[in-house]
């Protein structure tokens, strides 16, 4: 959607933030929490994965930015009837 902001910025921004929060949490997970997750450092791994998704979205936006807004008149909204 040219006239609209780009969705990749929203997904990228939110997941980067989630990634940072959850990764930091994962670095300081207590043994009890790791125990609950069956020994998997799930906060760390999911945090890094979400961070990667967020950064990839932002990278995609950077490499392939939205086309500049065209100034053509928008098409007539209503049709027959």
């Amino acid at each position: 959607m040219n006239r609209l902001f780009d969705l990749r910025a929203v997904i990228g921004g939110m997941f980067t933030l989630y990634g940072v929060i959850v990764t930091i949490l994962g670095l300081f997970d207590t043994p009890a929490e790791i125990e609950k997750a069956q020994g998997v450092r799930i906060n760390l791994w999911m945090g890094l994965a979400m961070l990667a998704l967020g950064l990839l979205m932002l990278l995609w936006l950077r490499l392939n930015p939205p086309k500049p807004v065209e100034t053509t008149e928008e098409e007539a909204p209503a049709r027959e009837d």
Binding site: M1, N2, R3, L4, F5, L7, V10, I11, G13, M14, F15, L17, Y18, I21, V22, L25, G26, D29, E33, I34, K36, A37, Q38, G39, V40, I42, N43, M46, G47, A49, M50, L53, E74, P77, A78, R79, D81
Partner: protein, 551 residues
């Protein structure tokens, strides 16, 4: 209900709050792009295919779907896969390849509008009103289910969840219309996956990987039957209680094609795409995630079956519907727990937003503009759309409290689908491929098909007809509706007058308008990875291949 209570902390709430703020922010930002009613109701037909495709699958990925499919995974085993690979993917591919040229090419703004141009105004009004009512009812069910789950997981009172959920969905749709619904659906898609993936990973580690899961399931209550999909469907003696004919034709053809190809809440996502090629690819792009979603719904269901002692109770905390919440409670540490809660909340809002944005479009264009106030300036209808959104959500809140009176919400929804979508699909498919079908044939096939299904449903409720399960009733109800609608369409056509060919151009196969000739349907786009037919064929082949290990 305290048994399901999650041990959430500050970070979990922070994650949920960030999500709410982002969703509202999308609404405010989308608002600036809205200049006319087409922007509000159809996103100005400007969305790229990856966005509409993910929104297409996300609109279906409501929490009822996720919780329900995990519940089915625990109850029926891998036969639940049929809901995805037979019951969704073929219909999505069919919509993209065969039906989308008619929908998008005829420039209609809604599914009911297609019916008005193909048939007549009574058909249109019947469908528009029944769709609007059904959407509000389903939005209410989503809201009520959201409130139930938040009460169980977080201890929030029902009214608080209902008001917060409704207020957020109301705000972002009133502000940003369909664009904001679609953008948020794509965001929800990723959040839902981020919430479900850790449940699956930790669950699999807990049961000793895939092999551990297989061994434990074989020793479990369903036994080896839980690990097969087709090999035991020669008779109805299998966990699902349905044979292959019922699965392929009932679920795979009538129910699934009815839902995916005529449900405007879904089709609307494709109509907002920027061009014909993107519109046709929308459901097909959606089919690829749909192929893989069972990995994070059905498999957690099986994990819950073998790890949660006593799962499958008729009531209380251990019902099948609580498979996912129970795993969240048992396995997720704070942090990913917050993401999973956010994913569940997101999926409820996705479902509800899809209903509300479908409702406001049909109400404004197909009811208000067509029958109540014609020929007003465009800005007037934009205002009507915003007011319809508010009214729809408020009525939805009311029906949420009605839904509280039903003990099985899923069955209520299934019943609605088999009542409305199965006859609609029959009317559509005959009308699209048989140009002689008359306007009144459209009307009567729709109404009598609906009545046939309603008769079976009421008869089943009143013990006049006996079926093995609610599921079986919905298969037969949909089948009866379909057959009735087709027969009535043919019979009425013989006694009434067809529309002249010129009025049907672009709406019926064989009467090519600019967009519905054979060449358009077969070709599509220049490069192969944007060609709907090739992409659709890949999706179908994958659906078949995925069945092989679980035969």
């Amino acid at each position: 209900m305290s048994g399901l209570r999650l041990d959430v902390d500050f970070v979990d709430y922070l994650i949920l709050a960030i999500y709410f703020i982002t969703v509202l922010g999308v609404g405010f930002m989308a608002r600036r792009a809205i200049k006319n009613s087409s922007d509000f109701f159809l996103s100005g037909r400007s969305m790229p295919a990856w966005v509409t495709g993910l929104a297409f699958v996300s609109a279906n990925l409501g929490a009822l779907e996720i919780i329900g499919m995990a519940a089915n995974g625990a109850q029926y085993g891998l036969m639940t896969l049929h809901y995805y690979w037979v019951g969704a993917v073929p219909a999505m591919v069919f919509l993209g390849i065969v039906m989308m040229p008619f929908y998008y090419g005829s420039k209609v703004r809604s599914v009911p509008e297609f019916l008005r141009r193909r048939f007549n105004r009574p058909t249109h009004l019947f469908n528009a009103v029944s769709f609007a009512v059904a959407q509000v009812l389903i939005a209410g069910v989503n809201l009520y289910a959201l409130a139930l789950i938040l009460q169980a997981l977080l201890g929030w009172p029902l009214w608080l969840s209902i008001v917060i959920g409704a207020a957020i969905v109301l705000s972002y749709i009133t502000l940003g219309g369909l664009s904001s619904a679609i953008y948020n659906e794509v965001l929800q898609f990723f959040v839902i996956l981020a919430g479900l993936i850790p449940i699956t990973i930790i669950g699999l580690v807990k049961v000793g990987g895939w092999h551990g899961l297989v061994e434990k399931v074989q020793a479990g209550p369903i036994g080896d039957a839980a690990l097969h999909t087709f090999s035991q469907t020669g008779s109805s003696d299998n966990p699902l209680g349905a044979n292959w004919i019922g699965i392929i034709f009932g679920l795979g053809f009538v129910l699934s094609f009815g839902y995916w190809t005529t449900n405007f809440a879904e089709v609307q996502r494709a109509l907002s795409a920027k061009d014909m090629s993107a519109a046709r690819r929308t459901p097909i792009i959606g089919a690829f995630p749909k192929l893989l979603i069972p990995a994070v719904t059905v498999i957690p269901g099986l994990i819950a079956l073998v790890t949660v002692q006593g799962l499958g109770a008729k009531e209380g905390d251990l019902t099948y519907n609580n498979a996912i919440p129970l795993l969240m409670r048992d396995l997720l540490p704070n942090g990913v727990l917050g993401v999973a809660v956010t994913g569940l909340v997101a999926s409820f809002m996705a479902g509800m937003a899809a209903n509300v944005s479908g409702f406001n479009t049909v109400f404004t264009y197909d009811i208000w503009q067509s029958y109540v106030r014609k020929d007003r300036p465009d800005g007037y209808y934009l205002r009507v759309g915003r007011i319809a959104t508010i009214v729809g959500v408020i009525v939805g809140i009311g029906t949420a409290f009605i839904a509280a009176g039903f003990d099985n919400i899923m069955n209520y929804i299934q019943a609605l689908f088999s009542l409305f979508n199965a006859p609609l699909f029959a009317t559509f498919i005959v009308g699209m491929f048989w140009k002689r079908m008359t306007p009144w044939a459209g009307f009567f096939s729709l109404v009598l098909g609906f009545l046939a299904s309603l008769t079976l449903y009421l008869g089943y409720l009143g013990d006049v007809f006996a079926f093995n399960s609610d599921l079986e009733e919905s298969f037969w109800g949909a089948g009866a509706a379909f057959v009735t609608a087709v027969v009535v369409a043919v019979v009425v056509t013989l006694f009434t007058t067809s529309k002249p060919d010129d009025e049907l151009r672009g709406l019926v196969y064989g009467l090519a308008g600019p967009s519905t000739g054979v060449d358009v349907i077969v070709s599509g786009d220049k490069v192969w990875w944007r060609n709907p037919v090739i992409l659709g064929a890949i999706a179908l082949v994958l659906a078949v291949l995925l069945y092989i290990p679980f035969w």
